[in-house]
């Protein structure tokens, strides 16, 4: 691996990381051959639905978080969305409200979650040894939109996030199409590991994409996320060219993220992508925060205000004037 000064390049041993099997099991259940698309409604594995959010795109948006992720970012603040529940049952005893139970049916053991009894205390998530959650459920786009029906007057649209929603591409596409038809266009919050140039129907239906650029240098990206970033950069260029790159986001974590290189790299791609891409894209600089991260990451450094403002100034000098610091 190339040494880049100031950044650690060793890849830590994952505790539990069936990344490729996640992608496979998610896409097996949600990929539907084109000829069958009209007959079987695809469902997706949903981690949770937030009815309103001020921080997931402009206006008030409902957020649909999908379960499963192919990255393992050190600073992940919702690590329980990464892995699939294997129904081991370790969480059941942790629930003080009787919302979890184990059912053995058809020779298969399953953990059942009673949404009505749930108080959202998070005890089950803390008790899970597999980086997952017993509260995930399969839902079709129609079921999701039906849940949002009473909230429609309050919403500008929806945002699909996760986990990594791109891993359930066929479902994501149907959800984006259905959402637009329902008057709630979808923003897609993604790590860019899925090739969106192969999903024109999704790109057309979505209101836009909010793309995380975790790191610029391939080595730094791998150390941070356990995955490469070639596809991320291809998506950056493609989505900008398609006029659908609503946001490019960089989480600023001193010593682990080459934020300056990200800013320069994003600016370069937007420049070569043409004025259309640059004009519509907001660069969001997100300060790393400790809330919700895994215990091993609680000691990671929080960037200072000056560092964030220096990055914003750099962006300005590179022609990126729509910059938001969060």
């Amino acid at each position: 691996m190339r040494e880049t000064s100031g950044f650690r390049n060793e890849v830590p041993d994952p505790v539990f990381s069936p990344l490729s099997s996640i992608s496979r099991s998610l896409s097996l259940s949600s990929s539907v051959a084109p000829c069958l698309r009209g007959s079987i409604p695809p469902d997706g594995l949903v981690a949770r639905i937030l009815y309103s959010s001020a921080v997931d795109g402009p206006g008030n948006r409902a957020v649909v978080f999908l379960q499963g992720c192919d990255f393992d970012c050190a600073y992940c603040h919702n690590p329980e969305t990464r892995n699939l529940c294997d129904h081991c049952g370790a969480c059941v005893g942790a629930c003080a409200y009787g919302a979890l139970s184990v059912a053995d049916g058809a020779g298969e053991r399953r953990v059942r979650w009673d949404e009505g009894a749930c108080r959202d205390c998070g005890a089950c998530i803390r008790a899970c040894p597999k980086g997952s959650s017993p509260k995930t459920r399969r839902m079709t786009p129609a079921e999701i939109l039906s849940r949002l029906e009473t909230r429609k007057p309050f919403l500008s649209g929806i945002t699909v996030s996760g986990g990594e929603c791109g891993l359930q591409a066929a479902f994501l596409e149907e959800l984006a199409v259905a959402a637009r038809a329902a008057g709630l266009p979808a923003l897609v919050d993604t790590n860019g590991s899925t090739d969106y140039s192969k999903l024109p129907r999704l790109v057309e239906a979505a209101e836009g994409f909010m793309l995380d650029v975790k790191a610029w240098d391939e080595g730094v990206h791998r150390a941070l996320t356990l995955a490469g970033n070639a596809m991320v950069k291809r998506n950056l260029a493609f989505l900008a060219g398609a006029g659908k790159l609503a946001e490019a986001r960089v989480v600023v974590l001193p010593g682990r993220v080459d934020a300056e290189a990200c800013v320069r790299g994003i600016a370069e791609i937007l420049r070569t992508g043409g004025a259309a891409g640059r004009g519509r894209t907001v660069l969001k600089l997100i300060a790393f925060r400790r809330e919700g991260v895994r215990p091993a990451q609680v000691a990671l450094p929080v960037p200072g205000r000056e560092e964030l403002e220096a990055l914003a100034a750099l962006a300005g000098s590179e022609g990126l004037h729509d910059v938001v610091i969060v």
């Binding site: 309103s52 001020a54 921080v55 402009p58 007057p153 309050f154 919403l155 938001v324």
Partner: protein
């Protein structure tokens, strides 16, 4: 005369506050109203509460002048001609304000500010207009020293409205309270967004559901309405003689069970409060002389036939909780349905009553969700979901909305937002639009770290809330705010993300 001497010696009061305190002491020595034993029993039990309105009403509780008429005709009593330019317009209004009485001693309504100012902005260049508006607002804050002073804006966007909002945001004053009469079709997104950004910083303007207010007041026989005091809807050019409130939290323990509450205890209490209100109204109308002698009446700036009265209530949440066997109001559908039934019955009984000497609304009193007073402890304002128990934001609005239609003379909900909401004011606007569409009558919002805080309905500057020394406050409402923070937990509202 202990109370009078205490007021005289109170170092935390300004001289004018001492005057008011002494006046209240004097008024309390008068036995002017016939009060039956049954009414008195409920007053002693704290079930019927007259909000310290006084034992001998000598002025209507809320006076809502027709300022548009004043701008056209001036005032003979005040020796003012109709204003002809911006300076004269603002000066005339400031003069009139000092002569509009109310329960607070200051006007509870200062007009539809943009409609009053806009005609005088023609040909006035921007910086001069801005400075004039700024000084006008400043003078209000420093001389009408009570944040129940309330100005309205909208529903249409205007240059004057924009200046009032922009300067209010910079001044960060508690006075005046502001409401935007909001109709998404008439107000437009740009102006509404300006209002939303301002609200996050200084807790005003609130969003009043113009369509609902307008329709309700037309149905009641009035051609126009104003939002005054906390969030009270009243006829323009009129007002309210009195506001008495039924404390449902105090009423609940007097009933054995739900059937007893709905069948006996509640109707009896409503009947007795109506009796008490009739006595207060009669005294004001027939004995105080206000409607014969006050210049506002003589010059047509208020008209007797536009004066109504407000049947208030508080503590619905606690009343429902007490009779729902562990189910919680605001969280449980069955409990909420019971709450709605209580309100429906009160509304029906009040609507069937005719005030003996009022003409407005065919003699009917209007229902009002009273916003609480500073010494309320364990009594939620109106029909509000108690602080500490609030559901998710849109669920909260959807649960509260069905109650709002019963309260034409005012009801409102308050929401605190995360400071990050400032970056996305469109989010607040979306919420406001959804609230209007769901039938919410009135919606107040602020960012949790804002310099100005909405207490229960009125505003107080954060620095005044945090003061612990006992020196006098400029604004009479500041001490109410401090007490409310202690007793009502208003700073503990759920913060919305």
């Amino acid at each position: 005369m202990r109370a009078a001497l205490d007021a005289v010696r109170d170092k935390s009061l300004t001289v004018s506050q001492k005057y008011m305190a002494l006046a209240r002491v004097a008024e309390s020595t008068v036995k002017a109203l016939p009060v039956s034993d049954s009414v008195q029993a409920l007053r002693d039990a704290g079930v019927i509460c007259d909000l310290y309105e006084g034992a001998a009403p000598f002025r209507p509780r809320y006076v809502v002048p027709d300022y548009e008429r004043f701008m056209k005709q001036g005032s003979a009593f005040l020796g003012l001609e109709a204003p002809e330019d911006l300076d004269e317009a603002l000066a005339s209004l400031l003069v009139l304000y000092r002569h509009v009485p109310s329960i607070t001693g200051f006007p509870v309504y200062v007009g539809d500010l943009d409609a009053l100012i806009e005609p005088f902005l023609d040909g006035v260049e921007e910086e001069r207009a801005r400075k004039a508006v700024r000084l006008f607002l400043l003078q209000m804050d420093r001389t009408l020293t009570d944040s129940f002073v309330h100005g309205d804006l909208g529903p249409r966007p205007t240059r004057a409205g924009r200046l009032v909002i922009e300067e209010s945001r910079k001044l960060k004053c508690a006075v005046p309270n502001l409401s935007l009469k909001y109709d998404p079709n008439l107000t437009g997104d740009d102006f509404a967004l300006l209002a939303a950004e301002c609200a996050l910083d200084v807790a005003k303007p609130s969003f009043a559901n113009h369509r609902i207010f307008k329709a309700d007041f037309e149905r009641l026989g009035f051609d126009d309405y104003a939002v005054v005091s906390c969030y009270n809807g009243l006829p323009k050019g009129g007002g309210s003689c009195t506001l008495v409130r039924l404390n449902l939290a105090r009423l609940a323990p007097r009933a054995r069970d739900r059937d007893d509450l709905l069948g006996r205890v509640l109707p009896e209490a409503v009947r007795l409060q109506l009796e008490y209100m009739d006595a207060r109204v009669r005294f004001l109308v027939e004995e105080s002389g206000f409607f014969e002698s006050d210049f506002l009446v003589k010059e047509g700036l208020v008209r007797f036939e536009r004066f109504t009265a407000m049947f208030g209530l508080v503590g619905l949440a606690e009343c429902v909780d007490a009779h729902s066997e562990g189910r919680l109001y605001g969280r449980d559908d069955e409990a909420d349905a019971f709450g709605l039934e209580i309100i429906r019955r009160i509304s029906e009984q009040v609507a069937a009553h005719r005030a003996p000497c009022l003409e407005a609304a065919g003699g009917r009193y209007l229902l009002h969700a009273q916003v609480g007073i500073d010494d309320d402890k364990g009594v939620s304002p109106g029909c509000r979901i108690p602080i500490g128990r609030e559901p998710e934001l849109t669920a909260h609005i959807l649960r509260s909305a069905p109650f709002h239609k019963y309260f034409p003379s005012g009801i409102g909900d308050v929401f605190a937002f995360e400071p990050t909401a400032r970056r996305n004011p469109r989010h607040l606007l979306d919420i406001a639009k959804g609230a209007m569409a769901s039938g919410l009558r009135y919606f107040s919002a602020y960012a949790a770290d804002a310099d100005v805080v909405r207490i229960t309905g009125y505003l107080v500057k954060r620095c005044d809330l945090e003061r612990r020394d006992r020196t006098p406050d400029l604004q009479n409402s500041a001490v109410l705010g401090r007490n409310a923070v202690n007793n009502l937990g208003v700073l503990d509202r759920r913060v919305r993300t």
